[in-house]
Symmetry: C2
Subunit: 438 residues, 2 copies
């Protein structure tokens, strides 16, 4: 038997942290989230389209809940498909777009253009939809978009910045899908059901907002590339300079019959975890649902707050927060990769937290991507315990080396403390919980 | 009359934020802090020595409070001297050591070595003491130490890391001053009164701990240089490799008659600001006294928490924190300089906060160095208001340019929102307050 499988005294801590994560995931479950938000039926066709890591699961839930006829096409990330009976599910590549996503986007746009006055378009959108629904604007190739997406991902740009660029290189994003559905007279109804994975839940940012107004401009997109000193491919630069066919802005009549409902969000997931903690007698502190920034620095600040809490000095009003307590936060950090190691932003965050806490007693944490995949590995995230650094050292893994090589995955894998869920079929972005015991 | 001098509607917000900062400064006032911590008199000599930005003010307070005879020598930063009658005050350079600091350190060490059994050494230490009390170990020059200090400051190393290196290049730090005072038989008493400016208030870190045990080793110092890829000057590398004359460690008899008292700290300063807020009907939230990390990322996370608070969603236990409220934090951020502009870490933090909040209503902030000097400029820090970005734009200052050029000083100077106090004669590190109105 592998020693890491033995029952350890820390197992109740691990279980509690996993339970908080599970509570967050349950709050973002597509079936539970769609049921109360189901649109009314229409005399004509109901065409269901969608894109995102959660969108196949949303399509299945919609099929099961919908009382009438429907048809449709939804694109999801490879490994995130679920069997549907009436809606076609296509798997495509994420985070770098591929031909399957491109073909799906073209067909979705055609479905929208074919709608008449009595029809409705139901758009099931979730995080990841931006990369999955890639359809280059005329004159651009998928390779052009791939190149600039890769450069942006490498540069440490925020997801908002990446999407500002993508919307202006796309034939479907930034409200253009709604515009396609508005060709009939009177125009078809557009119902968007969204699971948010973006800080602040801005509808224009989730999957780059194919059915909502786009306040960003060609000039904004150019500014993002300038900020990160990206000056190729040439066709992309030329397209952004030409600035033809701007995205539809707020107030545009194409949105007159469009309705948008946020059915699950990071905030709701954090609230569910907070409720679960409270029910277990642990005081929840919900810091924020939208923390951005370099994962390591965000780890340092979480460590500083956790130590303050542990010392009984996290004061709110006249009193300090009582222990046990748990710090909860969400959002999307970034990682500037410097080493050759493996790992995503949540395990990188946790590695930095570990180094800063340096074995401080009474503090344990979980950090996971709610889509089940932290970066490019097969884990959702990891769990940190007070003895993690010491245990890793006994297995020949030094935290300093893991930090220097960006090998958070290797560090937590050596401990047997990766959290592996497989694709969760939903996505409300990062989930972090830091438990502080008396 | 300069338009920026007119009374603006935001003036009550500015005044409130300044009042919180003043409350923090008052809690760190040397006179108030030393009075309750005065040591007992001894039959022999009382020799007062010290180093730090607050140490001249501490020396004056000590003189005024001390009932018996005394003599001594204290070194402080240029511009931080105050007139003393019996203790000699020397001004030296900070953060890069100079010959004046070196000569003072040598004389302080000689004073300690000359103490007999009936004497006591009173060491008045505060932040900045590490650079001011520079005495190279045998075989090293001041230029060697200056070169490595500059390289570390540029590289973004933490103050703790910088001091680990400095202690192992020094003839006085890392407990060596206490060792010098312990040459008599029986040894002289050593009383340290400390104003902390370091995260966690570790006595071994404040001014690199001349009178306390040093848990760090030559190997740790080598690891810091390796981490930041610093491989010169050659004499420094050779000295760290030779690893001769290790600093005295915990349990060493040289500390048997040494007493250490923390008389002011970041935590106490934050608590005083929290009390002032509470008295004004504003709920204080003390996040942490020891936040480290890149100023921009720390700004992003503070922005995310402030927005959560503003939305009424910063939940603690079953309820959300009521507005108005104020987020308080301390510590010491770092800035990786990329542009040619001016500004210290507190104004850089505030610039990042401004960009992230992007004019969000109801949120205003102050960030200052409690020593009165934020980096290399003449300001302690600055104040941010919801309209700061818009007002700067009307004066031809774009926040994007200020960010790209690391010109936080120029941005807030254009607004007339620099906070200028001059040297405060104390130092409990960074002070940040973010006011969130309903």
């Amino acid at each position: 038997m592998d020693p890491r499988d033995r029952v350890a005294p820390e197992d109740s801590t691990r279980k509690f942290l996993r339970a908080l994560f599970n509570a967050a995931l349950a709050a973002a479950d597509p079936y539970k989230a769609i049921a109360p938000a189901l649109p009314a039926t229409v005399p004509g066709r109901t065409v269901v389209v969608g894109a995102g890591k959660a969108s196949a699961a949303m399509a299945r839930a919609f099929e099961q809940l919908w009382p009438g006829k429907l048809e449709g096409l939804v694109v999801t990330r490879r490994g995130h498909a679920v069997p549907c009976e009436r809606i076609e599910i296509v798997e495509a590549s994420h985070p770098v777009p591929d031909a399957a996503g491109q073909e799906s986007a073209r067909r979705i746009l055609d479905l929208a253009r074919g709608l008449g006055p009595d029809d409705q378009l139901v758009f099931l959108v979730s995080g990841g939809g931006s990369a999955l629904l890639a359809l280059p604007a005329p004159g651009l190739t998928l390779e052009d978009k791939q190149a600039v997406t890769r450069a942006l991902l490498r540069s440490g740009a925020t997801i908002g910045e990446i999407n500002t660029v993508r919307k202006h290189l796309s034939a479907i994003k930034g409200g253009r899908l709604a515009a396609a559905a508005a060709l009939g007279k009177p125009r078809a109804r557009v119902v968007t059901l969204a699971i948010s994975d973006v800080p602040g839940d801005d509808p224009a940012v989730i999957a780059s907002g194919p059915t909502v107004p786009d306040p960003s401009t060609f000039a904004d997109a150019r500014a993002v590339l300038a900020k990160y000193r990206i000056d190729e491919p040439e066709a992309v630069i030329a397209h952004l300079q030409a600035a033809e066919d701007e995205t539809p802005k707020p107030g545009d009549p194409v949105f007159a019959d469009a309705r948008y409902t946020l059915i699950a969000s990071p905030q709701q997931a954090l609230a569910a975890a907070a409720d679960a903690a409270q029910a277990a007698g642990v005081t929840p502190i919900v810091l924020s649902d939208r923390i951005e920034g370099e994962a390591r620095d965000i780890g340092l600040m979480h460590a500083a707050i956790a130590v303050q809490l542990r010392e009984g000095r996290l004061r709110v009003g006249a009193r300090s927060v009582k222990l046990p307590a748990v710090l909860l936060s969400g959002g999307e950090t970034t990682v500037t990769v410097r080493g050759p190691g493996r790992g995503g932003r949540n395990s990188e965050f946790l590695l930095s937290l570990a180094a800063a806490l340096n074995g401080a007693p009474g503090i344990a944490a979980i950090a996971c991507d709610t889509d089940g995949i932290d970066g490019t590995e097969d884990n959702a995230g990891a769990i940190l315990l007070p003895d993690s650094i010491a245990r890793a050292a006994t297995r020949g893994v030094a935290i300093k080396t893991a930090m220097a090589e960006n090998d958070a995955w290797g560090f937590f894998d050596a401990l047997g403390d990766l959290v592996v869920t497989g694709p969760t079929l939903t996505n409300v972005n990062d989930f972090r919980a830091i438990l502080v015991l008396p």
